[in-house]
């Protein structure tokens, strides 16, 4: 991935910064500047909690070029608690089988290691199962 492109999306990749529509309150991620619900300008920043649940999932064995080091890996559509759906890898799965509806939370992880002249380590969000906390 090219450095400027990676840098532009840093707030999304590290902190799930999306938008909230000032007209109808709909939360938006990834940012799209025009509200999908009411069609008006929606550029007000909004930070998502990072909590959600698995809407769907699958496992990738034949990874696209640049992503081979993690293969096989599980990817998912995650429905965030604020409403939007996000596409991401799942991580820290342990022995627990992934299922639809499974609660997950966002973490920052390495997404890919670019070879070639750019050679940057690309970090970004993944989601892991919400730990069962002993109380």
């Amino acid at each position: 991935m090219e450095v400027p492109r990676y840098w532009r999306n840093r707030n999304q990749r590290y902190a799930l910064v999306g938008e909230v529509c000032p007209h109808c309150e709909v939360k938006i991620f990834p940012p799209r500047d025009v509200c999908p619900a009411c069609g008006q300008d929606a550029k007000t920043k909004f930070s998502f909690s990072g909590r959600g649940e698995v809407y769907s999932y699958t496992t990738i064995s034949d990874a696209p070029a640049g992503y081979e080091e993690n293969a096989p890996y599980t990817v998912a559509l995650v429905k965030l608690e604020e409403g939007p759906v996000v596409t991401a890898q799942l991580t820290d799965l342990g022995q627990e089988p992934v299922s639809i509806g499974m609660p997950v939370e966002m973490v920052t992880r390495r997404i890919r290691q670019d070879g070639g002249k750019e050679g940057i380590l690309v970090y970004g969000y993944k989601f892991r199962p919400v730990m069962a906390v002993a109380r």
Partner: protein, 383 residues
């Protein structure tokens, strides 16, 4: 707007054409279509293609192919909408002729995939998705379709085996299509033993890539002599949806297929029940089901029922993939939409060989770009 007819078709076999280049493949299809049409000139050519820039290091296919086929000086340009590039080129040619701007337009499309390694192609196919938020998260194109299928099975309760009739029908039909990539029938056991690619999508759910090119020649209907085979384009429409699945309001419903098919039905003045056969975009079995639902042939969540009950087979209520579909004829990505249309014309002309349907008066083709984000529907009629 003028009525528009198809008077020429051409295609190459879908195969690993190690001995043929991008331009040779495209040239074969275009020249075959012009010969079939009995034309030596055209006013314009629209070249559908997805990945020539990366897979073949060649863009600018309008001039490149026009020159190669002897149409130097003819207006030409490349049209790209991922997997629906083929139908997009056909629609451009249709609009050009219907508007009166051109009296003869060629829709041509080519994809030459075997010059690249398979992981390069996997990466290229993923460019049909959102680069930052889908492909950039490590998602492959197959994975995106798997996410849809997994959720679909969860919501509607279908089992894996209920999708098997789609590839079984496609392979049975392709056995009689000399241009098909795979000409061997498969059965339920083949399907159930097939290796997983991205669960629940297995090898028998996924269409094979391949090199290929197809072309059609379009002219005003009133210029076609009454004794010739007159194939009229009675419906033509496209629609888009969010490129990323996560942005779609209903990820399990192909809104762009619904909109483009509804527009095409309206233009043709017909209802879905009048369609005799349907060349649908079976890039993955799940897409067949979603396409049947969005195009008005099945209720939501009930696409697989048409397969399970045999309605999609030759002789059924709505035969699909009558010459093998993407699954068995093959899926040379940007060219696929024109293979579908060539096959519709073959059926309407009565030239489909052993695949010829008893009733083939009105045929529909639907070409899906991306994971459902650019969908183009055409309806053709023999008159």
């Amino acid at each position: 707007m003028r009525d528009v007819a198809v008077i020429g078709i051409g295609q190459t076999p879908v195969a690993e054409h190690w001995d043929k280049s991008l331009k040779e493949l495209a040239g074969e299809a275009v020249i075959a279509a012009m010969r079939d049409a009995g034309r030596e000139y055209a006013d314009g050519m629209f070249m559908g293609n997805m990945m020539s820039g990366s897979a073949n290091h060649q863009q600018h296919l309008g001039a490149y192919i026009a020159d190669w086929v002897g149409l130097r000086f003819t207006e030409a340009a490349k049209i790209e909408s991922a997997c629906s590039s083929g139908a997009a080129s056909f629609r451009a040619a249709f609009i050009a002729v219907a508007s009166g701007e051109m009296d003869c337009a060629i829709a041509a499309a080519v994809e030459k995939m075997t010059d690249s390694t398979s992981d390069e192609i996997t990466t290229q196919l993923a460019t049909a998705a959102d680069a930052d938020y889908e492909a950039g998260m490590g998602l492959s194109f197959v994975a995106l379709n798997a996410l849809i299928m997994q959720r679909y099975m969860h919501e509607y309760g279908w089992g894996k085996e209920h999708f098997a009739p789609f590839p079984i029908n496609a392979h049975a039909n392709a056995a009689h299509n000399p241009n098909a990539r795979f000409q061997e029938p498969i059965n339920l056991a083949t399907y159930e033993k097939a290796g997983m690619i991205c669960p629940p999508i297995n090898l028998m759910d996924a269409s094979p890539m391949g090199d290929g090119a197809a072309a059609l020649v379009l002219v005003p209907l009133d210029s076609v002599s009454s004794t010739a085979k007159r194939i009229r384009i009675i419906g033509s429409a496209g629609a888009t949806d969010s490129i990323a699945i996560h942005h779609r309001k209903e990820p399990l419903f192909l809104q762009a297929a619904y909109l483009s098919s509804q527009k095409a039905y309206k233009m043709a003045g017909i209802t879905p029940s009048e369609i005799d056969f349907f060349e649908l975009h079976d890039a993955f079995s799940i897409m067949s089901a979603l396409s049947l639902e969005a195009s008005g042939f099945a209720e939501r969540g009930q696409g697989p029922r048409m397969a399970v009950e045999g309605e999609i087979f030759p002789g059924g209520r709505l035969p699909v993939s009558t010459r093998g579909g993407l699954k068995a004829r093959g899926h040379p990505v940007g060219a696929t939409g024109l293979y579908q249309l060539v096959e519709v014309v073959q059926q309407l002309r009565g030239e489909a060989g052993k695949n010829q349907l008893d009733r083939a008066r009105i045929g529909m083709a639907q070409n899906i770009g991306g994971s459902g984000s650019n969908i183009i529907t055409h309806i053709l009629q023999a008159i």
